[in-house]
Structure formats: structure tokens, C-alpha cells
């Protein structure tokens, strides 16, 4: 079975500072990886995904994540955060080939709080 660990439950940071939200996964098989974002009082939105190809994936709002197979990590980074990035971020994993195990497993989330 797959599992996801988000090492930080809360990350406070000042506006325009860089940020890294950490995600490690565990799986005995190949996986796909995702980051979702949940803004206050809103639903979950897909931020970015790694399916294949380049291990560095980017979102339209400046976030990027790098798949590192040897370290089983998929950390999310942004070089300069804005107040509007304040949200909860969830890392998720699914098997590349599912059969009866196609479910999407989430970490417990990291609350990013950007302060002026």
C-alpha cells in the first residue's frame, strides 16, 4: 500500500520569502504524485502533478515540485510567496498501475501562512 508523509503541519513565512513544503511517500511500486491546494473555505484544487517525463513540474502560479525517486520525495517549492498563497497544501500519491488499488492517498496537509 502507498502512504504519504507531510513533515510539517504548519509553515509560517514572510511575504516574498522562499518556501518549501516537504512530502515523502512510501510505495513498493511506481507511482504518480500530486499536490492539491485548499484555500480558506474552499474545496481542493489540483495544483500540479507528476505522471512521467521531466521530474520537475510547475504550476501556473509559480509553484514547482521535483520528483526524487531515490529519496522518495516530491517537495513543493516557490521562490517568492504572496499573501494569496496562504492555504493548506496536500500531497497525494496513487499507483501507476492500479488494478484494484487505484485509490488516491493523501498526506495530512501543510498549512502555509504568509505574513506581510
Amino acid at each position: 500500500a502507498q502512504s504519504v508523509t507531510q513533515l510539517d503541519s504548519q509553515v509560517p513565512v514572510f511575504e516574498e520569502a522562499p518556501v518549501e513544503l516537504r512530502c515523502n511517500y512510501s510505495s513498493s511500486v511506481s507511482v504518480y504524485l500530486f499536490w492539491y491546494v485548499q484555500y480558506p473555505n474552499q474545496g481542493l484544487q489540483l495544483l500540479l502533478k507528476y505522471l512521467s517525463g521531466s521530474t520537475l513540474v510547475e504550476s501556473i502560479n509559480g509553484f514547482e515540485a521535483e520528483f526524487n525517486k531515490s529519496q522518495t520525495s516530491f517537495h513543493l517549492r516557490k521562490p517568492s510567496v504572496h499573501i494569496s498563497d496562504t492555504a493548506e497544501y496536500f500531497c497525494a500519491v496513487t499507483r501507476r498501475y492500479g488494478g484494484s488499488q487505484g485509490n488516491l492517498i493523501f498526506g495530512k496537509g501543510t498549512k502555509l501562512s504568509v505574513k506581510p
Binding site: Y32, F34, Y36, Q42, G43, L44, Q45, L46, K49, L51, F90, T94, R95, R96, Y97, G98, G99, S100, Q101, G102, N103, L104, I105, F106, G107, K108, G109
Partner: protein, 113 residues
Amino acid sequence: GAGVSQSPSNKVTEKGKDVELRCDPISGHTALYWYRQSLGQGLEFLIYFQGNSAPDKSGLPSDRFSAERTGGSVSTLTIQRTQQEDSAVYLCASGPKENTEAFFGQGTRLTVV
């Protein structure tokens, strides 16, 4: 519709009553997921459908919880004899196929009093 639709958006029920939560997935999506989100608990996986069958029911907390999906589309999550610990936001998501990304609805906030 354009996105995943869940109804009702809010539900307040008395302890011991049964509730039904509905999910309309994105048209054509074959994978459908139910999760529960409680304060400080992240997303708890409940059940996953591929078409009308549920390959993975491992997350259902007890036999009071059940779910079905008909016509490869609408899904209903039923909670019988609700308890206060069932209070949470129930999220539904659908995906174009299994083993890929999923798109979430806005959720149903269930409060058991």
C-alpha cells in the same frame, strides 16, 4: 455540469438518524472517490469506485457507512444511525480513469447534534 457537484452543501441531523449524501461526478469520469475531512485530520479515504464497482472499501469506518454508484455516474454515501463523531466535511472527487488525478466537489458539511 462543469465540475463535481455535491448535495446538500450542509446537513444538520440528529444523532441516530440516517443521512444520504449525493455526488454527481464530472461527465465521463469513471473513477469516483469519497473522503472525509475532519479538523486537523487531513483527508481520510473512505471508498473508491471504478465504474459501478468498488474495488476498495477499506476506508469505511464502520458498517454504518455504505456507498453505491449507479449508471457509472451518481454516487450516494449513506450513514446509518449517525453519531456525533461522524460530523465532518464529506468530499467527493472524480477522475477520468483510475490511477490519475481527481477533481473535487465543494463537499457536504455534516453536523450531528
